[in-house]
Symmetry: C2
Subunit: 138 residues, 2 copies
DNA sequence: ATTATATTTGCAACAAAGTTGCATTTAAAA
DNA sequence: TTTTAAATGCAACTTTGTTGCAAATATAAT
């Protein structure tokens, strides 16, 4: 499905910024930061435009945000696009790569009595296979 | 164990700010934000001092940071103080309370081949028992 | 108890990220 | 082609993260 289709299906205007973000994320198999996405876009877009585009796309669940920590945010395609709604994410401490662990479920622990569950977010931190095979010095 | 002991045990100077943070977190059974802690401290401390105190205490694992999302950060006592090193956290979407689920483990999913695990962070979002019994309107 | 020393604090300053209002531009509907 | 509702870019401002430095202070040494 093209960015064009995705946007019209969600009744969003098909703007270059939105299409660019979606296409960038379709191409990348991993999650990307705002800067990473920005640098891959053909045209330049204002910071505000990016900000609002991410917000809109996230609300429509076309993309989803991965908060590794308060200073490391990445985006990936959302569950409006065949992604499993809830899945863990992997963060590589060496190369800072973030990847959706799509095929895996999140095991939700038993909550205290009377607590209601609604969502879970699980981030696994470690070293990815690329970095592991590259034994560069710390 | 008193804040006094904790600090000296870690070879940190026993300052009012650090003691205040630790005592506040000992009293509270839940995780607290910087603002929440600040408002409970007897004296006023500069933003920078708070910032550096949190940083130092976190490095010594006297406290630990809970990143609910990039705009919601809370602190709780750390594993240098008998807390289990890795545990899930619960976030109440109504009252914004954050609580350590201390007695529970995090189930780490199987990673892609060649990936190395080092840490996991799991946040459960939902409604706490207090908010659930209080059926106030959205 | 007093002095010396290494840390910590508060302030100023700046960087980065989040957010909003508004006039201009533009995509899509008529 | 015209109309109109939505998106963009810019400016402005808020909040949060971060550093350097001089003054203050906790601890070690005397």
């Amino acid at each position: 499905m093209s960015a064009f289709d995705i946007l019209s299906r969600h009744k969003l205007k098909r703007t270059a910024c939105r299409e660019g973000i979606i296409n960038t994320l379709i191409d990348a198999s991993i999650a990307l930061s705002e800067d990473e996405i920005k640098s891959k876009l053909a045209a330049h877009f204002d910071r505000t435009t990016l900000y609002r585009s991410f917000k809109t796309l996230e609300e429509k669940r076309i993309i989803h945000k991965v908060v590794v920590d308060n200073l490391m945010i990445k985006y990936a395609l959302g569950d409006a696009l065949s992604k499993k709604a809830e899945h863990p994410h992997f963060y590589c401490k060496r190369c800072e790569m973030v990847q959706c662990l799509d095929s895996t479920d999140i095991e939700v622990p038993r909550l205290p009595h009377g607590y209601a569950f609604s969502e879970a977010e699980l981030i696994i931190k470690g070293v990815c296979v690329n970095c592991k095979s590259t034994h560069y010095n710390e």
